[in-house]
Symmetry: C2
Subunit: 439 residues, 2 copies
């Protein structure tokens, strides 16, 4: 008899933890297969530090083969799940298709950029959901400052040194907070920009405060830090239209910019809708054991799953890394139980507080709901990330150390073109490369 095959689709927080838990317990007694378009687990919370040039991209990319022994990695994007035949099909990075059967399936396919039906946004905005987008943004921002120094047209110069972030949630707030420090450094170094006004960052959100989903005290800290750095915080404001020249706000102001960063949130990976199973706002409905009703061999977790929140009856757990990670562990545990190891467990988790890394020595955090600000929050935040990362810790700490003592590196490698990171994509984790027919 061939060993039981457990297939995990997606190596985000949920899928990575599921694979790790299974691998540690089964120790080779099952065929554990992880299907993911990349060979790394992306530690998303530190992505704004990559875009701001603090961390090298590979620092936040934890090798799957290197940290998950006894797990077989298949590079590919799953495009079909045959629930009746218990098979999954994928396409590999070279465009070849493959498929395999499973005995147990974990669907942890995550989420993609959320669009809003606003004219011009899909064409002119970029999201912030994967490594290619972060590298694009780092290069793009660097290039804008350099080209602001080259042009002699004052309006173009103003547009190039203006950056608009839409969405003041966790991601948008961090991108703006890190971004303004980054562009200040770039502009100071640039001979051609001596005496020019500093780069301008605008953070727009329809909500009445930044970090609307978090505790008010965190909001206040973040708001204060942002304003002190010169970021224009425009709450209660929405975007009416985006063009190649800039962005029109609903209060009538048109802001000249070449940089529109779209952080309004995420939606579940569209693969979920294709399954033909009951969903909740695009998320796959599961029971408290994370199993798909009618398919006990299929579990779902993370952003792509609508998991009942047992701490808030009638609601579903929010789409956060914290929940995804813990759900991945529970999914693994319940699969193990179905194979005769231990007992199943319902998913229940109280959130443990949040950390918002604001760059420099600033952060806002409420670990165990104790509100912190400033350098102490920063130390807690960085310590938390080092603990939470499943690998690369020494290298991340080394980059932080170097960034503290050396001037920020300011070069653009120019390897990710704008069209390779469209906002409206089902695969923010990989750069689009196959736009050319026949390749």
């Amino acid at each position: 008899m061939s060993p039981v095959r457990i297939v995990i689709v997606g190596a985000g927080f949920a899928g990575y933890q599921a694979a790790r838990t299974l691998s540690r317990t089964l120790r080779g007694a099952a065929d554990i297969v992880l299907i993911n378009p990349n060979d790394y687990f992306l530690y998303l919370p530190l992505l704004p530090e990559v875009a701001a040039g603090v961390l090298e991209p590979r620092r936040v990319s934890v090798s799957l083969t290197g940290t998950l022994p006894r797990v077989r990695l298949v590079l590919g994007e799953v495009h079909s799940v045959d629930l009746a035949g218990r098979r999954v099909g994928w396409e590999d990075p070279e465009g070849n298709r493959g498929e395999m059967s499973y005995d147990r399936l974990v669907l942890s396919v995550g989420s993609v950029n959320k669009l809003l039906p606003i004219p011009g946004v899909a064409e002119h905005a970029h999201g912030f959901r994967g490594m290619p987008e972060a590298l694009y943004l780092r290069d793009h921002v660097t290039r804008q400052i350099e080209m602001a120094g080259t042009t002699e047209d004052p309006r173009e110069r103003a547009a190039r040194r203006t950056f608009v972030v839409v969405g003041a949630g966790y991601t948008g707030t961090e991108v703006a907070a890190h971004g303004v420090l980054f562009t200040d450094t770039l502009a100071r170094k640039n001979t051609a920009l001596r005496g020019a006004p500093p780069p301008r960052w605008v953070l727009v959100d329809i909500a009445p405060r930044v970090l609307p989903e978090l505790d008010k005290r965190l909001s206040r800290t973040a708001d204060r830090v942002l304003r002190k750095r010169g970021v224009e915080v425009r709450t209660g404001t929405t975007v009416k239209e985006a063009t190649s020249e800039g962005v029109l706000l609903d209060d009538g102001e048109f802001i000249d910019t070449r940089s529109l960063i779209w952080c309004v949130g995420v939606r579940p990976d569209p693969l979920v809708e294709d399954l033909g199973l009951p969903t909740e706002r695009g998320r796959l409905r599961v029971d408290r054991y994370l199993a798909v009703p009618g398919h006990p061999e299929v579990l779902a977790c993370g952003d792509a799953a609508a998991v009942p929140d047992l701490t808030r009856p009638g609601q579903f757990t929010p789409m956060t890394a914290q929940h995804a990670q813990r759900q991945g562990k529970v999914a693994a545990r319940n699969i193990l139980a179905s194979l005769g190891h231990g007992t199943p467990k319902p998913y229940k988790h109280h959130d443990l507080g949040f950390t918002v890394d604001l760059g420099g020595v600033q952060a806002a955090a409420d670990p165990l709901h104790i509100p912190l600000a400033g350098p102490l929050a920063n130390a807690v935040t960085r310590g938390y990330h080092l603990m939470a990362m499943p690998g690369n810790r020494v290298r991340v700490a080394a980059d932080w150390l170097l960034d503290a003592v050396l001037p920020r590196q300011a070069v653009q490698l120019g390897v990710v073109p704008s069209w390779a990171v469209p906002l409206d994509t089902e695969s923010p984790e990989i750069a689009e490369t196959a736009r050319v027919s026949g390749r």
Copy 2:
């Protein structure tokens, strides 16, 4: 009267040194403009370490604005030089054209991959001349090892773990020496490749020995290190044809591979031929003062210039970084003399020996023509590079330190597609991004 404008085209070893020397002496008394497609000086000798994952790409990319105060950077590729009207024209990264006049011009446009008329090579091989190619290679090699672990077809598996380097000069030898260490690490970490034979590297050259242009003792050291690591050194051999499946050698053997790395050398940037001036094998003829005959306001240096070698009468200086760097300084000095600062100086330089970084603790070097091998040569080589780099030294040293104590990072970011780094390009320093019409 507006200040004298000195335009430098290209920021390789020659152009960078010219800009630095001019900036330091003139201290703002002239308008120094550097036109380059990238915002960094690429320290090419360490590029094999980037491809092998030892150094982060930004480590070997030294910021131009950050290290060249009082020099205006224009991001662009020069496509036309009007010698009579004293104007240069360029295209910026967004495809817009610009032009400006000059009083003095330094042409330091460097070199590009040399092709040979061999069927299939332009389509299936990749060069190793710029950062995009190095990043492509790092990702490609990582992906090949991973996909070797996924496939169940033994022939495909063999092809994916086979890497062929053509050209055993400085670059090809270093790429193979570092590459085999890198793939050994990758394969060891990969659960699916346990028990499989190690990755295979083949180094092909028509010459009778590796490093044919260097001292025989360096060749012997490199040859010994390569063979000890399992690299198949195939001297006296050429490639007859390349296909998508592999490469046919002139001894009749067909090697299955998906990885053909083309390091047969370089040729001067084709811009030189477009000038309509006398050339020598594609290099612009200059006098011993690096001036273009008939155009005393135009100087050329580096790979793109045919500079009389005063140490070997009748010959021209070889295309090496050592000469380019020193010629850049002399070009700057002679421009300064033409502006009334100091006296002109003819270019004359004896080579100071070479260092070949073979990865691990191995190197071959002959500083001041004293042959060294092993860890001592390695220390000399790394020390030399740290001295020779115009910036980023602490970060490079930090990466070397981390690489010595931590396992090599093994992830592929997948941001540079194969078609973005064609072998036959006039711009190896930037990734092709504009293949899609209308973008």
